[in-house]
């Protein structure tokens, strides 16, 4: 499929929105679910976009920026792999395979962009000395533009290469690597969960993790049912936990002791 000029312009716009979404982490426009769907819409194959988005999203569930740690970049991975899958008529699993190295590349780009933004921070300091509100606004918006470009430029390059060339490039990747990357895709999800669990610092609550695992393994409950179950367990735990029911009583005693 040839990509026409209008489509290229729209892809660049979507890529910019995804890039902005990725740094803000507010609107979630960088999530594969949203970005792949939008690219699908532009390229005239929404369905493939949605399916790819859903599949990538499952893989990227654990990709999140916490503190100063940068996760693999969902924005660039979603945009580029959606363009490749739809324009070069690859199947979804090929899109998944290319998404992982692209996400790693995107991670490098975002670290670079966030280092560039240090300059804007210093510029803002200078404007603060002058009491220049507009200047500070511009610095902040400058940061957004950098993030938009870091996804838009690679997306533009990929769209400009002809689908044939992209096809050739993709088929040049030996099967061992693509298969390995698919396996790695599975690993990455699990690593994401492990990261979240470490961050929660709640090892004593781990039984609930295993409970969820076992229930999901041996039943056909869907996610809504599991969510309700999880909520019930959470409420029960808090209601029955002696830590909370006696907290006020012991607190009073302590106060008396202090007197």
């Amino acid at each position: 499929m040839e990509i026409n000029i209008l489509q290229i312009v729209l892809i660049v716009i979507i890529a910019s929105i995804a890039g902005i979404g990725s740094v803000l982490d507010e609107f979630q426009t960088h999530r594969p679910l949203v970005a792949c769907t939008l690219i699908g819409l532009v390229l005239g194959d929404v369905k493939t976009g949605i399916i790819l988005g859903g599949t990538l999203e499952m893989m990227a569930l654990g990709w999140m920026n916490i503190g100063a740690a940068m996760a693999p970049d969902a924005a660039l991975a979603s945009v580029v792999s959606a363009v490749l899958v739809i324009a070069a008529k690859q199947d979804v699993s090929a899109g998944i395979a290319v998404a992982i190295p692209i996400a790693a590349a995107g991670q490098v780009f975002t670290i670079f962009a966030r280092t560039l933004s240090v300059g804007l921070q210093h510029k803002a300091d200078k404007y603060a000395e002058e009491g220049n509100l507009k200047g500070i606004d511009m610095c902040h918006i400058g940061g957004l533009i950098i993030q938009a470009l870091r996804v838009a430029i690679p997306a533009l390059i990929v769209s400009l290469i002809s689908p044939q060339a992209v096809n050739a490039m993709l088929s040049a990747i030996p099967e061992v690597i693509t298969r390995g990357l698919q396996v790695a895709g599975g690993f990455i999800v699990v690593v994401g969960y492990a990261m979240v669990m470490n961050m929660m610092q709640a090892k004593y609550l781990m039984p609930f993790f295993f409970l969820g695992f076992v229930i999901a393994c041996f039943t056909n409950f869907n996610l809504v049912a599991l969510g309700v179950l999880g909520t019930i367990f959470a409420i029960l735990y808090i209601q029955l936990n002696p830590k909370y029911s006696t907290a006020s009583a012991t607190g009073d005693i302590d106060d008396l002791d202090d007197l």
Binding site: E57, Q121, G186, L205
Partner: protein, 240 residues
């Protein structure tokens, strides 16, 4: 001297700006510039001249937390700035002290709730619909997530502003701890379920035999044997 008061418009403007909180995230002071960006309507209303410059610098100090829980912090600091502008004895240090003091515990609440629970659950729900090609998947994810997020931002700013410094004493109660612990349980439970339900789909594992017929793969793998023992055992072990 007339009392300086923030208008509803200032708070709304702060709310809109706060949606771009992380725009200039950088490795030196992280969300500092974004915080200042959100505070600008307040600073503009309350201060002029030298005081304005000082206020700007005050809010360009290091700041980093989970982005949505910035809302109550913005509200509290807006209330403090208002008091200060009206002559209350609040020094620069105490305003930044409140910011630093709140960002740690609130990130501890926000990260597991929003990144650890809300987004994975909604995204998994959306993705499971999307994998069947339904447009509802992305729409549900996008709308629900943003509805929750905007609600938290809006009411967070309002709550923080109204409660002012009171909110800090509120943190001492175990309400927040209950909420965090409850959310952690839900998050762990759902993650356990997700590991079982989804990740084993992505692991073809050591292949003992493959028969391939026009795109369809019939595979006999170690996975089949493992599955009969306990489905999803490999992903479970991998989590550690």
């Amino acid at each position: 001297m007339s009392e300086k008061k923030l208008t509803k418009k200032d708070l709304t403007s702060m709310f809109i700006r706060s949606n771009f909180h992380q725009g200039s995230w950088n490795f030196e002071r992280m969300q500092a510039l974004g915080y200042c960006f959100s505070m600008i309507p307040v600073i503009k209303r309350l201060y002029e001249g030298e005081e304005r410059k000082k206020a700007l610098k005050r809010h360009l100090e290091f700041f980093n937390t989970q982005p949505f829980v910035t809302a109550p912090i913005l509200g509290v600091t807006a209330a403090m700035e208002e008091e200060k502008a009206n002559g209350a004895a609040i020094d620069d240090g105490s305003i930044n002290g409140v910011k630093i003091g709140l960002m740690g515990p609130l990130a501890g609440v926000g990260d597991p709730i929003f990144w650890g629970t809300l987004r994975p659950v909604l995204a998994a729900l959306g993705a499971s619909l999307a994998m069947n090609g339904s447009i509802l998947g992305p729409i549900i994810f996008f709308l629900l997530f943003n509805a929750v997020r905007l609600g938290i931002r809006w009411y967070g700013i309002k709550y923080g502003y109204e409660k002012g410094t009171e909110i800090i004493t509120d943190m001492g109660g175990n309400k927040l701890q209950k909420l965090t612990e409850g959310a952690s349980i839900l998050g762990l439970f759902v993650m356990g379920a997700l590991v079982a339900k989804w990740t084993n789909l992505n692991i073809p594992v050591e292949v003992s035999r493959i028969t391939q017929q026009d795109g369809k793969v019939v595979v006999t793998t170690v996975q089949n044997i493992l599955d009969s023992l306990m489905p999803g055992l490999v992903p479970l072990l991998l989590t550690f």
